[in-house]
């Protein structure tokens, strides 16, 4: 029983990270109806920035917030420079640009930092909080950070005029433009936010999977699964999906199919959700007119 409980809690911890990446995916999907295949690589890029700052002697939280700020700007720049020219192109062109971005980020990091695996510090103490034996303090901390990010996002979209403008631009670009919202910049802001959330996820997952240029490959796949399970256009759904996928992955991996086939869980979830219920648990059902 203890083992099961332990797996569920560990699943919640990784689930929090999947939830963050899924949230980043949903942010971009809502704004542009695109699924960003380079999201994992963007997060990895930010994590390396954080690593550099920490190694240069910066205190952890200083590096953390500086990285988040940098990632935000980085996301905005990518949208403005790389994505904007293909905004109205066929899906294939956009997917190709995402893949190109993935390649470029991956190889820039590989070029500068080499492909050797590096340890990444955790901001949380070694010994578990409150003397419990079920979760490490990093796992609890990661869940906490995810929840804080969620709360901030919710507050931003619910209570600020800018958040409202962004929601409007995502929902109805034409009318938003008519009332004076600069839709193009709202999309860029969406990318910036997604990159910032992704960087938090990257910094939270790096102490677990260690730092290397391909560290986000598996995480991205689980995040896709999480976003789809929750409904790709629903932020709350993405978070729910993230925790669900994390727990499923850990429990199934430990007791049913073994660690070797963990990624197959994501594959089955993705294909299963897409064929059986493409809108996920909380997504809107789309009806297209012929």
């Amino acid at each position: 029983m203890d083992a099961l409980l332990h797996q569920i809690l560990a699943g919640l911890a990784t689930g929090g990270i999947y939830a963050s990446v899924a949230l980043a995916l949903v942010m971009i999907y809502q704004a542009t109806h695109l699924v960003n295949f380079a999201q994992g690589e963007m997060a990895m890029f930010s994590t390396y920035i954080a690593w550099t700052l920490i190694n240069a002697g910066m205190p952890y939280w200083g590096a953390f917030f500086l990285t988040v700020a940098f990632s935000f700007v980085f996301g905005v720049v990518i949208e403005r420079v790389v994505i904007r020219p293909v905004e109205n192109s066929p899906v294939l062109a956009v997917v190709v640009v995402f893949i190109a971005l993935l390649f470029i980020l991956n190889s820039i990091i590989g070029w500068i930092y080499t492909y050797t695996i590096k340890p990444f510090p955790s901001p949380f103490p070694e010994q578990p909080f409150f003397g419990n034996k079920l979760m490490s303090s990093h796992e609890m901390g990661a869940i906490g950070v995810t929840l804080v990010v969620l709360l901030l996002l919710y507050a931003f979209f619910r209570f600020t005029p800018l958040g409202l403008a962004m929601r409007a631009a995502a929902q109805n670009p034409e009318s938003s433009r008519l009332v004076g919202i600069r839709v193009g910049w709202m999309l860029a802001l969406g990318w910036g936010l997604a990159a910032a959330i992704g960087s938090v996820a990257g910094m939270m997952v790096a102490p677990i999977v260690f730092l290397d240029p391909n560290m986000m490959g598996g995480v991205l796949l689980y995040a896709f699964a999480a976003a789809l399970v929750g409904g790709i256009d629903s932020p709350g759904g993405a978070v729910f999906g993230g925790f669900l996928v994390g727990v499923l992955e850990n429990v199934l991996g430990a007791f049913v199919i073994g660690n070797e086939l963990k990624l197959a869980v994501a594959l089955v979830l993705i294909i299963g959700v897409l064929t059986v219920r493409p809108s996920g648990f909380f997504g809107k059902v789309h009806v297209t007119r012929v």
Partner: protein, 329 residues
């Protein structure tokens, strides 16, 4: 124009036949891989270029083809040439079955599902219950085929690399003819009709579901044949050589070579085989950076790839109006 392109293909074939006698053994091996990739790219192009279904996981079918060939040779004692049709058949079935659920997915979602397939495949290949066949993480080593003896008797002694090259070349020619015939026939037209307007295609009596699944199957078959040939050429299969980057490399190949173009597969194959070699001299990471830059550049400036640029150039040169030909994606 028709005669001109026939002559062009004739010259190309001639050059391909002379090539292994002019270059080193290692280059011959590289050109064998170019042929292998061109078949794989042709397969992906049938699906993505002609039918408009995006696959980011075609490396999976390449891997299945490779593993079928390796396991048949290693465990069942098949001669190498007999594994090719089996690999093709297995992939046809696998592709068709994967195509059935994929039917309901469009564009981005299909890309997502196939991406998931590509990422999770190495884990499936390592799965320990299959280890008896697949060799687990270690993979399978296969022996390189010798040239048949009657060639030496005829006074044409070929070394192993040259023989493998000609063997691959023969299959490549067959596959290209097959694709050419398929694409200008009933099924090919149905594929393009679905790509351009699936509602209109349905209204004209095209069975969308059937054609899309079948296209997936045929496409996987081509890629699987390429995988089998690739395994024989490299003499080794292992799970980690079939990671997601294989699938993405195929996508690069068709985008650079030219979407919905048969010769585009050859240009793309040359690109993905030789450009990394050149770039490798700068850094281990350089090939991917260059691939990325080329991808972005082509998407912005030359969306029809090298084949499209050549077609346009020829049309300018001959002064003929660039007529809207059926291969426009």
């Amino acid at each position: 124009m028709k005669r001109l392109s026939l002559i062009g293909y004739g010259v190309l074939l001639l050059v391909a036949c002379v090539l292994p006698f002019l270059v080193s053994e290692y280059r011959t091996f590289q050109f064998t891989l170019v042929l292998v990739y061109s078949i794989a790219l042709l397969g992906l192009n049938i699906l993505t270029g002609y039918n408009g279904q995006i696959s980011l996981g075609h490396g999976a079918f390449y891997a299945i083809g490779a593993y079928v060939a390796a396991v048949l040779m290693d465990k069942a004692g098949f001669p190498y040439w007999a594994t090719i049709p089996v690999a093709g058949a297995v992939c046809l079935l696998a592709g068709f079955l994967f195509g059935l659920p994929a039917l309901r997915l469009e564009g981005l979602y299909l890309a997502l599902a196939t991406f998931a397939l590509g990422v999770s495949l190495p884990q499936l290949l390592k799965y320990h219950h299959f280890e008896g066949w697949t060799g687990g993480v270690q993979g399978v080593v296969i022996t390189k085929p010798d040239a048949p003896e009657f060639l030496a008797v005829l006074g044409l002694p070929l070394n192993q690399d040259q023989w493998l090259y000609f063997f691959t070349l023969a299959i490549t020619v067959v596959m290209f003819l097959l694709a050419w015939n398929l694409l200008r026939g009933r099924l090919g037209r149905a594929m393009m009709a679905i790509r351009d307007n699936h509602v209109a295609a349905e209204a004209m009596g095209v069975n969308n579901a059937m054609v899309k699944s079948l296209t997936f199957g045929v496409s996987a078959m081509f890629t699987g044949v390429a995988g089998a040939l690739g395994a024989i050429a490299i003499q080794f299969v292992a799970p980690d050589s079939f990671n997601i980057f294989v699938s993405l490399t195929f996508l690069i190949g068709i985008v650079i070579g030219g979407l919905a173009s048969i010769p585009g597969a050859i240009y793309g194959a040359l690109f993905i085989q030789f450009v990394p070699n050149i770039a490798d001299e700068f850094s281990k990471a350089a090939p991917w950076a260059i691939f990325g830059l080329f991808l972005i550049g082509f998407t912005y400036l030359m969306p029809l790839g090298i084949a499209g640029a050549i077609r346009l150039g020829l049309a300018r040169l001959t002064g003929k109006e660039h007529n809207s030909q059926p291969g426009k994606p």
